[in-house]
Symmetry: C4
Amino acid sequence: MAMVCLSDFEAYAKKYLPKIAWDYFAAGADDCTTRDENILAYKRIRFRPRMLRDVSVMDIRTKILGSEISFPVGIAPTGFHQLAWPDGEKSTARAARAMNTCYIASTYSTCSLEEISAAAPGGLRWFQLYIHRNRAASQQLVWRAEASGFQGLVLTVDLPYTGKRRDDVRNGFRLPPHMKVKNLEGAFEVCKMSPLDPSVTWNDIYWLRSLTRLPIIIKGILTREDAELAVRHGVQGIIVSNHGGRQLDEGPATIDALVEVVEAVRGRVEVYVDGGIRKGSDVLKALALGAKCVFIGRPALWGLAYKGEEGLQDVLRILQDEFRLSMALAGCASVSEIGQHLVQFSKL
Amino acid sequence: MAMVCLSDFEAYAKKYLPKIAWDYFAAGADDCTTRDENILAYKRIRFRPRMLRDVSVMDIRTKILGSEISFPVGIAPTGFHQLAWPDGEKSTARAARAMNTCYIASTYSTCSLEEISAAAPGGLRWFQLYIHRNRAASQQLVWRAEASGFQGLVLTVDLPYTGKRRDDVRNGFRLPPHMKVKNLEGAFEVCKMSPLDPSVTWNDIYWLRSLTRLPIIIKGILTREDAELAVRHGVQGIIVSNHGGRQLDEGPATIDALVEVVEAVRGRVEVYVDGGIRKGSDVLKALALGAKCVFIGRPALWGLAYKGEEGLQDVLRILQDEFRLSMALAGCASVSEIGQHLVQFSKL
Amino acid sequence: MAMVCLSDFEAYAKKYLPKIAWDYFAAGADDCTTRDENILAYKRIRFRPRMLRDVSVMDIRTKILGSEISFPVGIAPTGFHQLAWPDGEKSTARAARAMNTCYIASTYSTCSLEEISAAAPGGLRWFQLYIHRNRAASQQLVWRAEASGFQGLVLTVDLPYTGKRRDDVRNGFRLPPHMKVKNLEGAFEVCKMSPLDPSVTWNDIYWLRSLTRLPIIIKGILTREDAELAVRHGVQGIIVSNHGGRQLDEGPATIDALVEVVEAVRGRVEVYVDGGIRKGSDVLKALALGAKCVFIGRPALWGLAYKGEEGLQDVLRILQDEFRLSMALAGCASVSEIGQHLVQFSKL
Amino acid sequence: MAMVCLSDFEAYAKKYLPKIAWDYFAAGADDCTTRDENILAYKRIRFRPRMLRDVSVMDIRTKILGSEISFPVGIAPTGFHQLAWPDGEKSTARAARAMNTCYIASTYSTCSLEEISAAAPGGLRWFQLYIHRNRAASQQLVWRAEASGFQGLVLTVDLPYTGKRRDDVRNGFRLPPHMKVKNLEGAFEVCKMSPLDPSVTWNDIYWLRSLTRLPIIIKGILTREDAELAVRHGVQGIIVSNHGGRQLDEGPATIDALVEVVEAVRGRVEVYVDGGIRKGSDVLKALALGAKCVFIGRPALWGLAYKGEEGLQDVLRILQDEFRLSMALAGCASVSEIGQHLVQFSKL
């Protein structure tokens, strides 16, 4: 079967992954409304393409926090990559480096952050973390990430408790015994996730800032009010995210929330978005609405499930080609020409 | 089969209840548009969740008419619980007490109100009544309810005549001979419902008030005009309800009507809502839009059908857990923090 | 099978009528969008029901052009009733009289207007006509209708040419040889319909007026502009109609067009509507939006197909019961209490 | 099977064409959203039909750039007609001439433009072209077209690169070896389409103008901004087109884009539209919204696939009959009476 678009990888992963792993990756909270809305919301945005602009030389590179990437698509933090491919996050890191883009490694990786770093030296990587009840544990992770060459810290703020994902409850999901959350080994049991601290507030941003000189990117913001607070608390970037629809069901689609966050931020920090990206033209829409870069979650896992590092590169390459083509067909030769004039919200 | 969410109980009840009983509980008037809209309307409401608020200590208790309940979900009045479980309303009363919430017993119970009281002494209960052509019969019921420790009277006003529920007509629905409408025994035949008085007007509220010192809650209000009249006629509470879509088809979904009723009432009396609640996040939406508490009808019956008192407790516990989790994920640690800022109406 | 609602009659007719007859009655023009929209548009209207109004004595009678009918539902003109029942329009006339309502007999009846009159003396009947190229033929029909006791003339204006009904073309629909368009016998071939004059204009209303003292009702108006012209040309009534979606596809649903016609007419003449009425509550909606009465087309044919005169009475009786119940549940005890406050247009 | 409407031809073509050819003709870019929207958007437009206007003599002729055509429907440029019928574009040319309408021959024809001309001398034809990297090749085509009697040049501007049509990629679509892109024979390989120049800008319109006295029609405009630029650069006509949804997916439906283009152009040049025309009433809608004429793409191919020249005439004749009937039923006796008052956008 030819792999022509991202749905082909999804179909492959659904067919070949063990059901419990597929269900875990696919899961959304409750009725999965928000998970599905993330995708549907892109369909309600229409392009206003411009013609007869010289698009013979296309430049799709961009920079995030000063680092150049080959195109504005990075890898969002997702857990347990060994469920998709034996080499797990090491393959992810290699694919991201090969494609010259950014990989946000999850705390809940099945490889340690040191292993991830060693697997693809020189790649652009950020480290995703939660704040634990045991602040020392978080502190250790920050220091290890900094020492291992990660260039940004992504603080996830939408998981004071884990969302209710019905299939995981039905399946009694837990990691197979031969896989470990390597970053936290010995520290605590994974499945309960009790170590995460639900009392975290905005003040903890200051504490985190005090630990590191790495830029802090806050992930999980969905409202203008929280975007304003994030800027005021000194973060360097915001990822508009609803955790792939896995936390609070029936919140906004991320592409819809992006609009209000971008408006509130007024360019003071970089804004990114994840959730629902399935085509290169989705990337173009997100950029037109003010995102500096997007991150893909499940599609990266489908790529891994298909052929590990190589499969993920296939996914990224398809997105890259589609993004470049969409840009050209919309009349933009470089990322700097993308703007809000390219899109309008459909009334339907 | 694991019971993970309320739909699991629905599927169980549909599978194991006799068809005629399932049809009776499930029935909506005419095309069942309003019955289904009650659910769909919740899906059109989107959360605006806030992050990084201390949600380590969650307080989901509330008070209705001065009585504390463990969380803002009570049992709406529905008839004929013995169709779902042999012990009928006695089990319902026990489950409500065990979960420390309010149970509104229906006039059309298959246990008498005295039996209900005796089954769960000390539980918070309101009694639902209609006004009969024979006013003495209504008067008797009010006095018996007061004497049996019921703490509120819920007057249903949307049933001057019974709605046209096609399946009940086709099935020739009537109570099996071994079940009785115990509260009315001897007084009249049940199936015709002719005893209800279609000439009742707002003035009858004064008459009802003259009979009892119990608070009067009016159930079945759907417009601002009637909400204003209810307040002026001195009721203590309003339940926004369309009788589960069993009366006038193609009226508003209750969650939509709630908005205009809350606006009209301006805090002068408590406002509740029933119809369409299927998840803890629906409760959160109703509270965000101004309801003090919600009541569940069919889901309670599904719980009874599953395992009687225990099954209903399961249903309530799931709703409670989901409500608590939704609150936390939306950034609210106590019911008092819930407000309209948490929601917006989707345009789709 | 119990006949509980109008869809039951539809299902029966679809099952038992010859396909060619069913197709002819069911046909809409082109994609049948307007035919189906007539029904869907009712679903987008929501009631705002009022409670606690004395509805113990219900009065559902109304008057059209001064004649009292038992409830505001008449029989719209449709052709070829013998396709549905051997006695054809004679049965229709008898059923309408039995239910004390108005029957608009079609020019394209399979009984002559004299036969129709003789079948149910004393019934309230209007006669529907087109203007023919041969004006004398039209004149004859008018005089015969007047002589036979018809009390109104309904001029259909939306058929300068016959709409394209694909199934009729595929079926090669034509009347079976043993049926005749009795009103026009000898005058011309039916299937081509060429006798109708596509050059008719508003001035022909004056000509028609000059022929008769009967009130003239114009059928097929869909815009405020034409409603204004109709009033200015002295008609006594307007039937908002799109010919059951059989003429121009993708025009407005009649209940939507009713709103603008009623607004334009400002009470100067009576306004009626046909198309899409399937439940008593649809009648209530039409009256709330300003119709004085509605007319049913296909449902009458289904009733005929079921049991002739008796079947049509069943259909009318069901609509009557449903209309009365809807009124009561919406808080209206008489037709005069119905008003626009009872409805709102859903945004969905 | 009777051919009653255009869908009948579509069904025939889908059944009898080789899959690879059907897929090529049917293909849309990416998710085919825009391809399908082109059709759906027509369904959201409602007529406001007027009654009692003399429609006994219908005149459906119109003029485009001064040439009279029998009705406002021409043949849009599509490639590879031999995939549908052995005689290819020669049949198309003959059918267009027989129906007295305009045929826009594609550069990517499987007959040369000289063959096309010779097949139907005297027919009204325009020639569609792209601007090639090798400007001399384009120049040659222009001169050959002018020499062969083509009366207009249609410059397609929405294909700097070919859109991603998944089925074509999966099928590895390429012309069968016995077919040739005759207009370009020897010049380059067809399947790569690399000869097209993605550096083309508005200035190239001046270059094209300098080559020929033929009117220039620009095809592929979707925004008011580009419409304004087109007028300023001196084109004689604009075809609002999204290339049948084969280029940038999720741009606007053409009938929606038509509105803004017509507004911007303010009558300074003629505006046409293609995409989604499936019924005569679609033609009427496009004209009501300001198009001077519409062009059909896929339906013409279905006609060819059915019976070559004769099949395409059938398609055109059906559209013509439907258009005439729609006009009459909407109250217009000639094209000049068609205006915006005839339509409104449905909110649904």
